[in-house]
């Protein structure tokens, strides 16, 4: 991360937040340029807007990045601030580009911001009533916001958050392939270099598979592959994957989502010659087991409700996959089937809610509470019960053959509590703003876990326009809170406030010593 030496010995401001925000905005430029190219090639009329957004992004990002630097020692508050503000800044830029390219009008700026937050947080809840009314380049850019979000998430989950010890993620330090340096910056660059290759590789593979499958052209394939890899769930069609009405496409997407709900660190290990990494991992086994159990149970419930076995299996597998990986594609088809899970029996919906809470694995692009934490919590319970039987015994919580330190168990428990607290708080506010309790509660859960669709009125064939404007604001905040593992958003103001205070104090010092200036 060294800046080109345009001016020797220039004085750079030490600000990790501005530096990372600048870098983040610079990263968006190629995506916007590609989208502009597609828009121009497909005969759309918004390529200028996309080009302009690219220019804007570069014009803001480059100076920020150039004028600042990150020194060796970075306070935790600055790292949290950098992460949170990068996501906020990207979302704002995304909103600007959406308005500029006429996806939303100027007065609908809040919708644009919601859509953009939903994109960069890989959530996939949409407030576009008619997606297909937009140009192909603009829609590609909308898909790419999720792809960028996923890209950020992979690095965040495997190098930044473990470094900060968020919610017990320090257990993941051994997982991240990269520099084992104590310093953050080399670790981040190391992880990014290795994992982004895997991420891009998975995207291309899914895209090729979808392209070969009947029904999708290259554009559709890439558009949906990028949101599959990001477990985002945006689609370029109103009826999402259901638009293609193709079993092959659905199977490819199910496999893609499942793979992207696994840690990209495992994929990296597997690619570099250690495919046994999956089988050895307790999280992988639990995730797979839950997935299989969930599909079985939901299939049985739908089958029992009178749907044919094949359709029931197809739609159950798709929706369990889409919710357990927090993707949020819909497969409600014009030709029938039971893709819209809002119409399912309540017991099947509750099982889906369970998957919405748990989400995918740490190190994947999926959201939710994470399988890792479920694993720790479950083992904590079995330990507690054994302890009750044998009060003097010492039973460590073990993941594989590794004992989890007690303080980490405590922090995992605290994180999960916090997760529920924030969700319930969100539900309370959203219901207070006039949404019925089922839609509000599942909406909050969906936003917090970066799923996309919810139950009640905000199902997979509906959109988030059913929420009132302030309620959408609350949900957008929840999306970012959930995406960044809660703490970054809660602590995003700490570093800026501290820096401002320090600056004031320094000035006072200078003023009080007249001879020194």
């Amino acid at each position: 991360m060294t800046a080109p030496r345009l001016i020797e010995r220039r004085v750079r401001l030490h600000s990790p937040i501005l530096h990372v925000v600048g870098l983040g905005l610079l990263f968006l430029v190629p995506g916007l340029l590609v989208s502009a190219l597609i828009e121009w090639g497909s005969g759309g009329d918004d390529e200028v807007a996309l080009l302009g957004s690219a220019a804007l992004s570069g014009a803001i990002g480059y100076p920020l990045w150039w004028a600042t630097e990150v020194r060796a020692r970075v306070a935790a508050s600055s790292v949290f601030g950098a992460v949170a503000w990068t996501w906020v800044a990207s979302s704002v830029l995304g909103a600007v580009s959406f308005v500029w390219s006429d996806m939303f009008t100027m007065s609908e700026w809040d919708l644009a911001l919601f859509e953009s937050v939903s994109g960069f947080s890989c959530t996939g809840s949409t407030v576009l009533a008619d997606i297909e009314a937009n140009g192909r380049g603009v829609l590609m850019w909308r898909q790419l916001t999720q792809w960028y979000g996923g890209m950020g998430m992979v690095v965040l989950a495997l190098s930044v958050l473990p470094y900060l010890g968020v919610g017990g993620l320090e257990m993941m330090t051994a997982e991240a392939p990269g520099d084992s340096s104590d310093r953050l910056a080399p670790r981040v660059t190391g992880t990014a270099r290795r994992l982004w290759g895997v991420y891009a590789g998975v995207t291309v593979m899914v895209a090729l598979a979808l392209w070969i499958a009947p029904g999708m052209n290259l554009y559709d394939a890439f558009a949906h592959a990028s949101t599959t890899a990001a477990t985002g769930g945006f689609s370029t069609y109103n009826s999402s994957i259901g638009h293609f009405d193709s079993l092959t496409v659905e199977i490819i997407v199910i496999v893609g989502m499942f793979v992207c709900g696994l840690s990209f660190a495992w994929h990296y290990r597997a690619v570099t010659g250690h495919p046994e990494v999956y089988g050895r991992n307790g999280d992988f086994r639990l995730y797979t087991l839950l997935f299989v159990l969930g599909v079985t149970a939901v299939t049985a419930i739908n089958w029992d409700a009178g749907v044919s076995f094949g359709t029931s299996l197809r739609d159950s597998a798709f929706n369990v996959a889409t919710l357990s990986t927090s993707t949020g594609f819909g497969n409600a088809r014009a030709s029938g089937g039971v893709g819209d899970f809002v119409l399912w029996a309540a017991s099947a919906q509750l099982i889906l809610l369970f998957f919405m809470v748990i989400g995918g694995n740490v190190g994947s692009t999926a959201g939710g509470m994470k399988v890792f934490r479920l694993n720790v919590v479950g083992r904590h319970f079995t330990r507690t019960l054994r302890q009750l039987g044998t009060p003097r015994g010492v039973f460590p919580v073990k993941l594989g053959d590794q004992a989890v330190p007690e303080d980490i168990v405590g922090r995992v428990l605290a994180f999960v509590s916090l997760y529920f607290l924030v969700t319930v708080g969100g539900m309370l506010v959203v219901t207070a703003l006039g949404t019925d309790v089922v839609t509000a509660g599942t909406g909050a859960l969906s936003a917090m876990g970066n799923m996309g669709p919810a139950l009640g009125e905000a199902g997979p064939t509906s959109n988030f326009l059913v929420f009132s404007r302030p309620a959408r604001g609350v949900l957008a905040v929840l999306m970012l809170v959930g995406r960044l593992e809660i703490f970054a958003m809660l602590l995003m103001f700490v570093a800026p406030v501290r820096a401002a205070r320090r600056r004031v104090r320094d000035r006072q010092l200078v003023l009080s010593q007249p001879g020194s200036s």
């Binding site: 029996a345 309540a346 509750l350 019960l385 009750l388 405590g410 605290a414 539900m427 219901t431 703490f487």
Partner: protein, 506 residues
């Protein structure tokens, strides 16, 4: 999670060890506790028969017969079983669980013998709902004789007392539930009830009886009849929720009675140690208890919100405030008395109701639920977690009411939250499997686990639980029982059962 004082022998009353009809009695904690439970039930049933005689004496003979059978069971049990010395700690919770099961069985027998319900599972539901102080009912109270109405109310009163004793004296020794323990052991500004367990029991029973009496007087002064006064004070002080009328408190249509009930329910859901010290003149615990302030504040804020949200639809005025306050206090204290159908309120209130169902009353009260105490523990550890995030190497103690809380206690609260959610979620899936909608099954599961009773959706304040499928009602029974015993004892007892079955098999 650490434990301590697990092997401490329970005090063995001499009476139970000396007089022996048989030469050698079998040492069994479970047997003796069942026998003693039957003693209590027998006396209660004879009393109920007496009450029945005061009106029509429809069921007096059946009641007395079951009561005498209970007493016969007691003498047989005490003749066969004795307390082993020392009492093995591992047998105490199985004994408690089996004495609860005995109570359910006897009460079921009473309902079956008197023909209150056609089916045995309805009778069981009624007794489980009664003893766990939940208050869902499958019968129409107006059709019952005076004796049976009294019996239902008395069930709840006994259940409330048993739950209090369980929380104060027994669960603390098992270490599973530190959050609960600390609330009773003085971490929240309230010293223990008494240094010794037996004296603690006595103080507690006295306070419970005195509150019942006071509430009875208040109800009668506010205009209730004597019999209604007795029944409603029994079901209010125990946070039970059974009523002598299908329309519960709406039957009286009296502001004075409703406000008395609000006060009674609020007090019933408060920590009994704090109340005890306040009553004997030490107001310091009362003033220092942050838990009490949060409990009262929660009810006040919720009542204000509910009032504001229902103001328009219900015409405003005193009645709106009163009904909102009544419903909120009824839900928070986990009583389940009803005066208005809260399921029909504006959608905004439903989230609030769900949250109140999820929080419940103060720890160390007759009320159930997750408890304000544990919520405060969680809140403390969350605030600490935020500070840890910025200062990873800091050593930070969580304090409540000016005293620091142990790590085990914090982990206990967090663990209990997840266990509670897991059981509640599983219960919701179970109820939904029998055809209830999402809101009904989720809220009913939460309400049963918190021993509130009425919930939202089809099972609102005046919802009819007999309209649910029998399977769903069976799930509700399990939830009520688990919630009443704070889940862990049930798991331990199940574990002990499995172990002894294995031993038998060997």
């Amino acid at each position: 999670m650490t434990t301590r004082a697990v092997d401490r022998p329970a005090p063995t009353p001499h009476l139970l060890r000396r007089r022996s009809l048989f030469e050698r009695r079998v040492g069994s904690v479970v047997g003796v506790s069942i026998a003693l439970t039957l003693l209590g039930l027998g006396v209660a049933l004879l009393l109920t028969a007496l009450v029945d005689v005061t009106e029509s004496a429809d069921n007096a003979i059946e009641l007395a017969a079951v009561g005498l059978a209970c007493l016969a069971g007691t003498s047989l049990g005490l003749a066969v079983f004795q307390l082993p010395d020392p009492v093995p700690a591992s047998r105490v919770l199985p004994a408690i669980v089996s004495s609860w099961l005995t109570v359910f069985a006897v009460s079921t027998a009473v309902y079956a013998v008197t023909g209150v319900t056609d089916r045995i599972d309805d009778a069981l539901f009624e007794s489980v709902s009664g003893y766990t102080t939940t208050g869902l009912t499958t019968v129409v109270p107006e059709t019952l004789s005076r004796g049976l109405l009294f019996w239902r109310a008395l069930n709840q009163w006994m259940g409330g007392l048993a739950a209090l004793m369980l929380g104060v004296a027994v669960i603390p020794f098992f270490g599973a539930e530190r959050a609960h323990v600390d609330s009773l052991g003085g971490a929240h500004g309230a010293p223990r009830l008494a240094p010794r367990v037996r004296q603690g029991f006595r103080n507690l029973a006295q306070l419970y009886a005195v509150s019942t009496l006071a509430l009875f007087v208040a109800f009668v002064v506010a205009g209730m009849g004597v019999f209604d006064g007795i029944s409603y004070s029994l079901t209010t002080v125990s946070t039970g929720g059974f009523a002598n009328h299908s329309s519960s408190f709406a039957h009286f249509d009296s502001a004075a009675i409703e406000w008395v009930a609000v006060a009674g329910m609020g007090i019933a859901g408060a920590n009994i140690a704090v109340l005890w010290w306040a009553l004997v003149g030490a107001t310091r615990p009362l003033r220092r208890s942050i838990e009490l302030r949060v409990y009262l504040g929660l009810m006040a804020v919720s009542a204000a919100l509910a009032t504001a949200w229902t103001w328009q639809d219900t015409g405003g005025g005193h009645a709106t405030i009163r009904h909102a306050a009544f419903s909120v206090v009824s839900l928070t204290s986990t009583t389940g008395h009803r005066v208005v159908e809260w399921a029909d309120w504006a959608t905004a209130t439903q989230g609030l109701i769900l949250v109140l169902l999820g929080i419940g009353s103060m720890g160390g009260s007759a009320g159930g639920g997750f408890s304000v105490t544990r919520v405060l523990h969680l809140w403390g550890s969350l605030r600490r977690e935020l500070r840890y995030q910025l200062h990873p190497r800091a050593v930070i103690a969580v304090k409540l009411s000016g005293r620091s809380v142990t790590e085990a206690s914090l982990a206990g609260a967090a663990g209990y939250q997840l266990l509670y959610l897991a059981v509640g979620g599983a219960g919701a899936i179970g109820i939904a499997a029998f055809g209830s909608d999402l809101l009904t099954s989720t809220s009913a599961s939460l309400a049963a686990l918190a021993t509130v009773g009425p919930a939202l959706g089809d099972l609102g304040a005046f919802g009819d639980v007999s309209a649910l499928d029998r399977g769903a009602r069976a799930v509700l029974m399990v939830l009520m029982f688990a919630g009443r015993l704070a889940i862990y004892p049930l798991l331990i007892a199940a574990g002990a059962l499995v172990r002894s079955l294995r031993e038998v098999a060997r």
